[in-house]
């Protein structure tokens, strides 16, 4: 049980993070409420995630987003919307994780690649061209 309870230091840092990011910052007096995220982790028997690591990772991700052209206030909101587990999944990978763009592949698919994709489309392995059923 003890390993699942947050230390005071971790809590105060998490609060500082929430305030810095302008998220729905709890009042300092309320910082010792156990959040639903923490409660769900405890109920699932998961160990407490280090708030310090999450705090740093959030800051990094926000910086990467801004570098990639996302408005700073918008980046703050995006990062604040994610749980610690979700933050861990994307930390350090913003510039390599798949980004859905959809149309536009034909520009890049010249020559051989075009033929390859046509064949794989016909055998049903890929689904690039709308004219292939």
């Amino acid at each position: 049980m003890k390993r699942n309870t947050p230390s005071l230091r971790a809590l105060s840092l998490a609060t500082a993070a929430a305030i810095m990011f302008g998220a729905t910052a709890p009042m300092p007096a309320r910082a010792a409420m156990v959040s639903t995220d923490q409660a769900l982790a405890t109920l699932a028997g998961e160990t407490e995630r280090a708030a310090v690591i999450s705090f740093l990772a959030r800051d990094d991700i926000r910086g990467e987003m801004i570098q990639l052209g996302v408005d700073p206030a918008e980046a703050t909101e995006r990062v604040a919307s994610l749980s610690d587990a979700e933050i861990e999944n994307i930390a350090g990978r913003i510039d390599e994780l798949p980004a859905g763009e959809g149309l536009g592949i034909l520009i890049g698919a010249a020559g051989l690649v075009f033929i390859i994709l046509l064949i794989t489309d016909i055998i049903g392995a890929t689904n690039v061209f709308t004219f292939v059923r």
Binding site: L97, E101, I119
Partner: protein, 313 residues
């Protein structure tokens, strides 16, 4: 001779390719779906369509789901929330975050079965595909709105196509190659049909995280309707009500959780705060003492107790 070499090259390519793209997962077994009680076909014709603007498949798919769920948004509104210019595209985590920020219960799905179950239940599903190949990816968001098991087809709103019909087997491959990401986006009082309790609780907690506490409370209430014994649902309802300033309601939710689980210190800890905010300091201190006792003297709960004791001075 050149003509011959060209042909040989093409055949060799095709053979190599067939090996490269062999599905990593067995093809969906369509008869199992029918055996599992799924209707043979379903199609949600009222899901709106946003023909995607350049690079905006993510915004188009999410806008479609949000409008279907009752929110009047446009593709451009959503693009501000999910598009990343430097990547010329939309990251999956941003779609999840934006659904929450719009007050919607966003629940990830992890199996093709679950996608079909949701459609059969009337819920469209945002899906992420790699339409091309691992080494030449074309990442793409679409929204699945129908299927036909007899014909082995899935129906998508995709790109600029209102009704793109794809073989279920091909879809299974492109979805598998897109790392099996799917998301159902619902009004907070509605729950997905297919998934288990944990991801739904996490989706509701996501609403709290973005300050949508009223929507979170609605979601927790729906969760408790389906799973009346859910401790997570009661803690969440308590926390959401607390954040809304409904301290008596928060205390009621936490007491209901404590009834079945008096051994959990976090429940007593949060109850202590809910009581203190109502000015019932003696009861609050008693609850905080329970938390300390039952946690074996954990620091965090001792801090709660000292803080409440200090308020009484």
């Amino acid at each position: 001779m050149r003509w011959f070499t060209g042909r040989v090259l093409l055949v060799v390519c095709a053979v190599i390719l067939a090996a490269c793209v062999a599905p990593r997962q067995a093809s969906p077994n369509l008869s199992t779906f029918a055996a599992a009680g799924l209707p043979l076909r379903a199609e949600l014709t009222d899901v709106p369509f946003f023909p995607q603007e350049d690079l905006y498949c993510g915004p188009a798919a999410l806008a479609s789901a949000l409008v279907w769920s009752g929110l009047p948004v446009t593709q451009a509104d959503i693009a501000d929330q999910v598009f990343t210019p430097g990547r010329s595209g939309t990251l999956r985590s941003d779609v999840l975050a934006a659904a929450r920020r719009n007050g919607r219960l966003a629940v990830p799905l992890t199996s093709l079965d679950d996608i079909l179950v949701e459609i059969a239940a009337g819920n469209p599903v945002i899906v992420f595909q790699n339409l091309a190949l691992d080494w030449f990816p074309q990442w793409h968001f679409a929204i699945a709105v129908g299927y036909d098991l007899e014909r082995g087809e899935i129906i998508l709103r995709s790109g600029r196509q209102f009704r793109r019909v794809t073989s279920l087997k091909t879809f299974a491959r492109t979805w598998e190659r897109g790392e099996r990401w799917a998301l159902v986006v619902l009004p907070p009082g509605d729950l997905p049909a297919s998934t288990d309790q944990k991801p739904i609780l996490q989706a509701a907690a996501g609403l709290e995280r973005v300050g949508r506490n009223g929507d979170a409370a609605t979601a927790y209430t729906a969760i408790l309707d389906r799973w009346p014994d859910s401790v997570g649902g009661r803690v969440g309802l308590g926390n959401a009500r607390y954040a809304l300033g409904d301290f008596a309601g928060a205390a009621a939710a936490l007491r209901a959780a404590i009834d079945g689980n008096p051994q959990m210190p976090m429940l007593w800890n949060n109850l202590a705060y809910a009581l203190a905010e109502q000015g019932r300091l003696d009861e609050a201190i008693a609850a905080a003492e329970e938390a300390v006792l039952r946690s074996g003297n954990a620091d965090a709960y001792r801090a709660t107790l000292s803080e409440l004791l200090a308020r009484g001075v």
